[in-house]
Symmetry: C2
Subunit: 260 residues, 2 copies
DNA sequence: CCCAATAATTCCGTTTATCGGAATTTTTTA
DNA sequence: TAAAAAATTCCGATAAACGGAATTATTGGG
């Protein structure tokens, strides 16, 4: 009999094993992986052997401990999100320090927005609406909304259609998004007024390279008291725009470099 | 009959499909992937379906084009090499600009050293000994040698034994490595005098965090004329040491952050 | 707007690679 | 040095992956 919780197919199994490893920065031995993955020892072993073959995992010959391998890292370098997140690190840190609030970085994937990085500022009341890895429909949340508003009319329409039910879960409709789009056009940033959490607001701006590619959105979230118009205009927005531009410039430089 | 060139096992097949995708920054459609991977359409399709299930690939619903997915990116963020490479970006750029020569970043993996990043300086004669992704036995090349020399005596011995034949391909022996180790102890950096390419030299230093973890090596390579003792002592070495320390400090800060 | 051509997806009988329990070997610990 | 634990290999049973063919969806003229 096959394990009820077991994913179907070797690829799903491999993914689970890799998951376990990615949560173990210092690696894990076979028994540990068996325990975490819930697969039989034999299966786990064979999956690991296959993954080792393609350099997705590496086994330290002396300790027999398994770690994520070089191939994975190499491939990841090609997966843009990683780069965006890594490159944004310093800028986000600057924003978090400057504003003392929480800074989010999101990237678009199809009709969704994925939070790929987060920096927490010094202010004691924190607004942790999004975790790293969280996925939301485009248009829900300040960063996600900034991404949505940077799409073409046709794309926005598609997103609304595709995500209709998902958007409804967050109380968003095509109309509400259209109204936020207007706001974005006029003010140059997207806002999120207590949509998900009451008493909390956020504003977001898109990150667009010189070649016109929409790569990410930067957003800052805080309790309403810290999101008055004056503070937004004098502190938050200039900061976001500055870092968004920097990030775009650096990504652009890397793009050029790649073509050499 | 199964394809002669086909890798064995679903995991190897999945890896090949991911390889194809990672070489296609703008994604690829099914036929393209079929062509590149040499698998049957059905197999390719099914592999992609499995990969999609675990978010390793993402298929744009409107264009049906496949790309590397969010999960891969998320996982990669945990694979240290990526971070090291991304974090080192600026420092390497500074070194490349300052020295005008070529800057290499290598990380250790078992008994090998993997080049994970490279920055080319302005000087017209370039010494591109290593590509991103290249793997060498520990001890071959300045960066790799710096890693080797930062190991314990027992580890060095193991490396020599394990890599014996591989080292021989590069004309290196236990004795030659021992002699370079002496040099490293005395001078605080590793050197590579035309070992691989005649007329070219390089020097490297290790990057070690405050907690004592050996994470990488930074190296600079140039033609011999630009690697005279004076230039090394006045320009190259101080630069390398400074950036190595900075990098170590940043990695250390991130390590602490992780434990929160 | 319809039809042809191309691409994507599903179906299905066959075969093979994967499965897990048990046996074996290696490594660690007492 | 023996006992215990962990890693690895073996093997028969079987589920899962295979690919060719059929089906469905999409695209690109005319």
């Amino acid at each position: 009999m096959t394990n009820l919780l077991a994913p179907k197919g070797s690829i799903a199994r491999a993914a689970r094993v890799l998951d376990v490893l990615s949560l173990a920065p210092d690696g894990a031995d076979l028994t540990e992986i068996v325990a975490q993955s819930k697969f039989s020892k034999t299966t786990t072993f064979r999956v690991l052997a296959s993954l080792r073959e393609v350099n997705y995992v590496f086994q330290d010959p002396s300790t027999r401990i398994y770690r994520l391998g070089s191939k994975l890292a190499e491939m990841a370098r090609n997966a843009e999100q990683v780069n965006v997140s890594a490159i944004a690190e310093r800028g986000m840190a600057r924003l978090a320090e400057m504003s003392e609030d929480t800074v989010f970085l999101s990237v678009p994937e199809g009709a969704s927005s994925i939070c790929v990085n987060r920096k927490v500022g010094a202010f004691p009341i924190r607004t942790l609406t999004l975790d790293k890895g969280d996925r939301r429909p485009l248009g829900v949340g300040a960063g996600s909304l900034a991404l949505f508003c940077s799409l073409s009319e046709a794309q926005r329409a598609t997103v609304c259609r595709v995500n209709k039910n998902w958007l409804a879960e967050y109380g968003a409709t095509e109309e509400s998004l259209a109204s936020e789009y207007e706001f974005f056009q006029v003010n140059g940033y997207a806002r999120n007024r207590g949509g998900v959490v009451r008493g909390m607001s956020a504003i977001g701006v898109p990150v667009i390279t010189a070649s016109g590619r929409l790569v990410a959105a930067l957003a800052i979230g805080a309790i309403d008291e810290r999101m008055k118009q004056e503070r937004i205009e004098e502190l938050i927005l200039p900061g976001l725009k500055r870092e968004a531009r920097r990030l775009a410039d650096r990504l652009n430089a890397m793009e050029k470099e790649q073509n050499k």
